[in-house]
């Protein structure tokens, strides 16, 4: 059964008329004449067709302006398509930009009613759910205080609680997970996982590729209003990165590197002998960087930076702080890791030749490191470890009464 279906949906927006090379704004007459000027049209979506099965979690990713939010706006009836047809089967609710509909002067309780009925619930339904909402949000007595007196955290929690208690058949999710503290994010994720287990259909639109991989069964990649890739979340994120690699935006301060040493090539494999480029968590990895030195340079440091898909620095391979003299000519740097501790996934790679504080060459986002599954890892890293099990004579809690440890029943 299909819960959501898009049939050749297109959406056109009219760009405000902008005429380059002219300073004064268009006159009334010109504006009237241009009212239907097709040159200013902008297609946010072009002939998009896809469907979501009942109980499926679909991820939609894409760069800014790819048409992700337009899809959300169409699904929520906020705006209508220019052509095509969308059919939705079931009650749909959206978790978009939490708390945006709040009215500052009203109390939390009044806002809960207002938000509830805005999403199409009746007053009685809201009344029935209000105790649960207050409980989940944890705002307590503040529920009868105007929301303008709320801390931003309370504001957020109340907004999520209202949305999470709507009990929809189809749930639309925006970048909601990007806000709030860690505990709140975990709470949101738990609630979403519960909804998934309850067989709800989920459409998740996000930049957070890791969250998309975790939550979704299938992923669409949008680019300039068209679906360019459809497949497993893992493959779609790889494709997403491939596409963004073609036009990496190099930070300005890296562009004027002297390039007396140029990094020319990056490769990785599991052992120096292996032919293919598969590396797995828990297995060794060898990384090679090839370079060409146009002159002999002292104190050179080679660095390989690995980033999470979100762009945060994950870790670094380096030839050390001191640096060494690189003779004129070509060469290669080999980094050997006995155990690859990164969990399966994609990592973005920067390569740099530096002579602190000067940057000789910096290849920004020049490659992707793909780590495949080795031993199953829960969490972010695989920590190499050993273990030993042995008997003790007394059932004592003494071992835990140290500064580093707390006994399991909470009595430190």
């Amino acid at each position: 059964m299909k819960d959501v279906e898009f049939h050749n949906v297109s959406k056109r927006y009219q760009r405000p008329a902008a005429d380059p090379g002219r300073d004064r704004p268009p006159s009334i007459l010109e504006r009237c004449l241009r009212w239907r000027d097709r040159r200013n049209d902008f297609w946010a979506l072009r002939n998009v067709s896809f469907s979501v099965k009942h109980g499926e979690a679909l991820g939609i990713i894409g760069h800014n302006g790819a048409g992700k939010s337009t899809i959300l706006k169409l699904l929520t009836s906020i705006t209508a398509p220019t052509s095509g047809e969308i059919s939705i089967c079931g009650r749909l609710s959206a978790l978009l930009e939490i708390g945006s509909g709040f009215h500052q002067d009203l109390t939390g309780r009044e806002n809960a009613y207002l938000s509830g009925v805005t999403f199409g619930m009746s007053r009685n339904e809201v009344s029935a759910k209000l105790p649960g909402i207050i409980e989940f949000s944890g705002v307590g007595d503040f529920i009868d205080v105007p929301v303008k007196r709320y801390s931003s955290g309370m504001y957020l929690r109340l907004g999520f609680s209202i949305a999470a208690y709507l009990n929809p058949d189809i749930l639309l999710l925006d970048e909601v997970l990007a806000v709030g503290d860690v505990a709140f994010q975990a709470k949101c994720l738990n609630r979403i996982q519960d909804l998934r287990k309850a067989g709800k259909t989920i459409i998740f639109v996000s930049h957070d590729l890791a969250a998309v991989e975790r939550l979704c069964d299938r992923t669409l990649l949008l680019s300039k209003g068209e679906i360019v890739y459809e497949g497993s979340p893992r493959d779609a994120t790889l494709e997403y990165h491939r596409r963004s690699l073609q036009t990496p935006e190099v930070p300005a301060h890296l562009q004027d590197a002297s390039r007396v040493i140029e990094c020319t090539h990056f490769s990785y494999r599991s052992t120096p002998e292996s032919e293919d480029h598969t590396v797995r968590t828990g297995e060794p990895m060898v990384v090679e960087v090839a370079y060409v030195a146009h002159e002999t340079v002292p104190d050179v440091v080679f660095n390989v930076y690995l980033y999470w898909p979100s762009g945060y620095l994950c870790t670094q391979l380096t030839t050390g702080d001191q640096g060494c003299t690189i003779e004129k000519g070509a060469g290669r740097v080999t980094f050997s890791c006995p155990v690859l501790i990164l969990r399966p996934g994609l990592f973005l790679v920067d390569i740099a030749a530096e002579r602190y504080p000067e940057v000789l060459d910096w290849r920004h986002r020049c490659a992707i490191l793909r780590v495949d599954e080795g031993p199953i890892v829960l969490g972010d890293l695989h920590m190499p470890h050993e273990h030993r099990i042995h008997r003790t004579d007394t059932a004592s809690k003494e071992h835990f009464r140290t500064e580093e440890a707390v006994s399991f029943d909470g009595q430190a």
Binding site: Y13, Q14, K73, L74, L75, T76, S77, I78, T79, A80, P81, T82, S83, G84, E85, I86, S87, I88, C89, G90, R91, L92, A94, L96, E97, S100, G101, H103, D105, L106, Y113, L114, V117, T118, F119, G120, M121, S122, R123, D169
Partner: protein, 277 residues
């Protein structure tokens, strides 16, 4: 369990779809109620006189016009004290003008909400209409006090004011829907409205009586649906008169046609509100 199926298509103008639009509106009636209450409670927040403003507005207008039209210029009122004469028409007029100007500014003021959540958009202008109606009811009590003060008896004929007010509300709803939808695309509506309302008031027997309008101009003058409404309302309350049926029927039919058309057009326009707001 059968699931509700919803089909979203490009915007199209159709009077026939109005039934389903209206059903949607009924489904969201709690939101309409909540928004109306919001109008009433938020408007007078941080104001000293609070709800008194609902009464003060027509009352002060009445004082101004009484000074002008019964002391500086003598206006024929067919024997009624000018203060009651003016107030009895300023009351429905304030309902109309406040409802219309509130509704016109309403949608752009809620652009944030409109772009985040779907709900039948007519709820926003309608909530202003209903809030203006609530103000009207409050200010109505003052009219009763004024009539008591001037010794004007309240007869059973006063009940004819009810169809007049209902007709006015229908007409106000129609014009509010049109004006608010236009305002979304062209802010000129909001600029022109105060002037338009002022003109409209002087084209309606509010501060003067219908009998002072030249007979030769009446055919043109009576095109204004507010004429029949104001005359019926004032006649019923002050004199217990039955309405002039021709006038009132004309007003009612114009109001109904305007409102039906306005609703159809509003629903056609609403799907692209957020694209242009």
């Amino acid at each position: 369990m059968t699931q509700p199926v919803q089909i979203i298509r490009p915007a199209s103008f159709s009077i026939l779809a109005m039934g389903s639009h209206f059903a949607r509106l009924v489904q969201f009636r709690d939101l309409l109620r909540a928004m109306t209450m919001l109008r009433l409670s938020v408007r007078y927040k941080q104001s000293l006189l609070g709800y008194c403003w609902a009464i003060l507005h027509p009352l002060l207008l009445m004082l101004i016009y009484t000074v002008i039209f019964s002391h500086f210029v003598k206006v024929r009122t067919d024997g009624t004290p000018y203060a009651v004469f003016a107030y009895s028409a300023l009351l429905p007029w304030t309902l109309f003008s406040n409802g219309l100007s509130g509704a016109t500014m309403g949608l752009p003021a809620h652009s944030n909400l409109l772009s985040k959540v779907y709900f039948p958009r007519e709820i926003v202008p309608l909530s202003y209409v209903l809030a203006a109606f609530a103000d009207f009811l409050m200010a109505f009590l003052v009219l009763i006090l004024l009539m008591f003060h001037y010794g004007i008896p309240l007869s059973a004929g006063a009940l004819w004011a009810i169809p007049a007010i209902l007709t006015l509300t229908v007409f106000l709803t129609g014009t509010a829907l049109i004006a608010s939808a236009v305002q979304v695309r062209f802010r000129d509506m909001g600029m022109a409205l105060p002037l338009l309302l002022q003109l409209w008031m002087f084209a309606t027997p509010v501060v003067y009586s219908l009998s002072s309008v030249p007979k030769s101009l009446r055919f043109l003058y009576d095109l204004n649906p507010l004429v029949g409404i104001m005359e019926t309302f004032r006649g019923a309350l002050l004199h217990g008169e039955a309405p002039d049926w021709v006038l009132l029927t004309k007003s009612l039919s114009v109001s109904l046609v305007v409102t039906v058309f306005a609703y159809g057009w509003f629903k056609h326009a609403e799907v692209t509100f957020v694209d242009v707001i």
